[in-house]
Amino acid sequence: MSLEAAFADEPAFVPYLAAGDPSYEASIEYVEALARGGADAIELGLPFSEPIAEGTTIQEAIVRALDAGMTPDRYLEFVREVDVDVPLVCMTYYNLIYQYGESDGPRSFVEAAAEAGIEGFVVPDLPAEEAGPLRAACDEFGLDLVFIVAPTTEGDRLETMKEQVSGYVYVQARLGTTGARDEVSDYTERSLARIADWDVPKAVGFGIKTGDHAERIVRAGADGIIVGSALVDIVAEGYENGDSTEVVADRLEAKARELKEGALAGAPVEQ
């Protein structure tokens, strides 16, 4: 299933987890639980040692995954092994994509990711201006390249991104790095208005913790919601408390269901 298709019928729920957090095996279970809970696509983080765009929650997830031995090759193995029927998006930093394999640039990794079953990329330290080589590689192997639109993104930069984006656009609902907050920002509507004419689905992220948040975001016009920290928190808590993989997986599935139902509740009544 293509990324865009994941948003086709109803408001999409796109969860994020760092692959390999807190272990390869548990992480497989957790990703599968999210799919069972209603995920329409999954952003699967490939951990990088210097995650400058993340909040502390996800930063710590990345540290756990790295400490547990996650590498780009293991990640691809993970992608091949995980049993879900929704599209997987690789979220990582550019240096890992850039260094992989023999190629000078991102081509080797894109090729390998495509072979493993990745449908697209989100690269938070790669603005549209620097994205040419990755865009070209994605085109070559039929993958999408998702960009993040921030509340501060304006003018010409919106145009540049609009030209390059595919799959969906990640709408950053408020300023700041990733992290769950109680308040759903007022930025959402304004952000969506600025990209109303884009012909890709608009997924809104940053700060969504509950079904209620999800509902309000969708009601404000989003085609989908992206949730990371609220889910990573469940993984972290389970890890710290020594809960079994099954228990944590159940919690993730339940949370996923809550968020997906919230998103559905916010959907406009069909005409």
Partner: protein, 412 residues
């Protein structure tokens, strides 16, 4: 915004507008001297910073090496190192841009103290992020920052060192970008930082180039500067880059060994120009210490200030072009050079700086008749480390401190 293939702007989208705003401000105020910005910068660097700083002939070293050795005395800059050139420049620029708040990260504490000083001088609220481990290791610098009125925010994630502090500062900036300027401490990070920091630091070579011609009626044969992130290096080289007869040596920290431990992700050195591979870190494409996957290695040097896995993209480019020679010396050589300059010239150098003098000791024969070495900072801050590290080694010229350890309490 590029130096060959290096440089660029690899930052989160939320920061791009700030980067663009800064680029615009850089071009207008720094490059075009709009509203007399550069005039005010130069005036403040004179009155507050103490510029111009001397280019001093090193009598004893000149005799030792049968070479005319000149010292560019950045150790005499207010705060004790070249760092203020950049910190004051950026805080002043933030003021011109209408920003109301300054943030910065610091590892060894030198950039933090310089930024805190500049912010106090210009009456700007200032917060410094610093890893908890670094806070414990660099307490005097923490107290200096606090004394200058800066908030110091301990970063408790990860190992509590520079990399976590950088992430935390980025996070702050991503939230507060509209009213806050992030003062990056070296010629690293996304454009325009590498160019802008270089331009502020270029006062060093602007003065030195004029001074050496006054003193010797000629250009030097070689210019040496230590290189971590590379801000003193680029500051010292910039005005000599066009002088093709002047050889430029960037002296990196060879640490205990140039080899790396991929398994542990540790490089026991900070020689990214000498041994690093191209990659993307902290907003720029440059040479990095990384493993074959592209994960960043933990670097190491006896000098905390050189201890960084990346390096300024312009330096990486100048190395590829063959214009700058990347060299390095190990911890022992740097420590010996620290003692040599202290004893022979009456100047206690920063451990960073000592690396440049270590290279001079080992390779003075190949450097020509006239050499300038940038004394990038003073070494008061490093005394404790030097005493400890010297005690663990068998160095020829280390002073005996044993009886003073017995008198009184702790190390310092």
């Amino acid at each position: 915004s590029k130096f060959g293939e290096y440089g660029g702007q690899y930052v989160p989208e939320a920061l791009m507008p700030a980067i663009e705003e800064l680029t615009d401000a850089y071009e207008r105020y720094v490059l075009d001297n709009e509203d007399g910005f550069m005039d005010e910068f130069r005036e403040r660097m004179a009155d507050f910073g103490g510029r111009p700083l001397p280019l001093q002939r090193a009598d004893q070293l000149s005799q030792r090496y049968d070479t005319e050795v000149y010292l560019k005395r950045e150790d005499l800059l207010h705060g004790g190192a070249h760092k203020l050139n950049n910190a004051l420049g950026q805080v002043l620029l933030a003021k011109y841009m209408g920003k109301e708040r300054i943030i910065a990260e610091t590892g060894a504490g030198q950039h933090g103290t310089a930024t805190a000083m500049a912010a106090a001088h210009l009456d700007m609220p200032c917060e410094i992020y610093m890893g908890e481990t670094d806070i414990a290791r660099q307490r005097p610098n923490v107290f200096r920052m606090r004394t200058n009125g800066a908030e110091v925010n301990p970063v408790t994630t990860g190992r509590g060192t520079l990399k976590e502090a950088i992430s935390e500062t980025m996070r702050d900036w991503a939230r507060t970008v509209e009213n806050t300027h992030y003062v990056i401490g070296s010629v690293v990070g996304p454009h325009p930082f590498p160019s802008m920091v270089r331009d502020f630091q270029a006062l060093i070579s602007e003065e030195a180039r004029e001074q050496i011609q006054e003193k010797t009626s000629d250009l030097p044969d070689s210019v040496l500067a230590c290189a971590g992130g590379g801000s003193n290096t680029m500051g010292m080289f910039h005005n000599f880059v066009e002088d093709e007869t002047v050889d430029l040596y960037a002296v990196e920290a060879g640490g205990s060994s140039l080899s790396v431990d991929e398994e542990e992700g540790v490089a026991p050195n900070s020689a990214s120009l000498s041994t690093g591979e191209e990659g993307v870190l902290h907003g720029a494409r440059t040479k990095l210490l990384q493993d074959s996957d592209g994960q960043i290695m933990e670097s190491h040097s006896v000098s905390a200030g050189l201890d960084y896995a990346g390096v300024g993209p312009e330096l990486a480019h100048l190395v590829d072009e063959g214009r700058v020679e990347p060299v390095n010396v190990d911890d022992d050589t740097a420590l010996e050079a620290f003692h040599r300059l202290s004893q022979d010239e009456g100047i206690i150098p920063a451990l960073e700086t000592a690396h440049a003098f270590g290279y001079l000791e080992e390779h003075h024969d190949g450097l020509g008749e006239t050499v300038i070495v940038n004394v990038s900072g003073r070494g008061d801050k490093d005394l404790e480390t030097v005493i400890e590290e010297t005690g663990n080694r068998d160095l020829d010229n280390a002073p005996d401190m044993s009886i003073f350890r017995e008198i009184g309490g702790g190390m310092l």
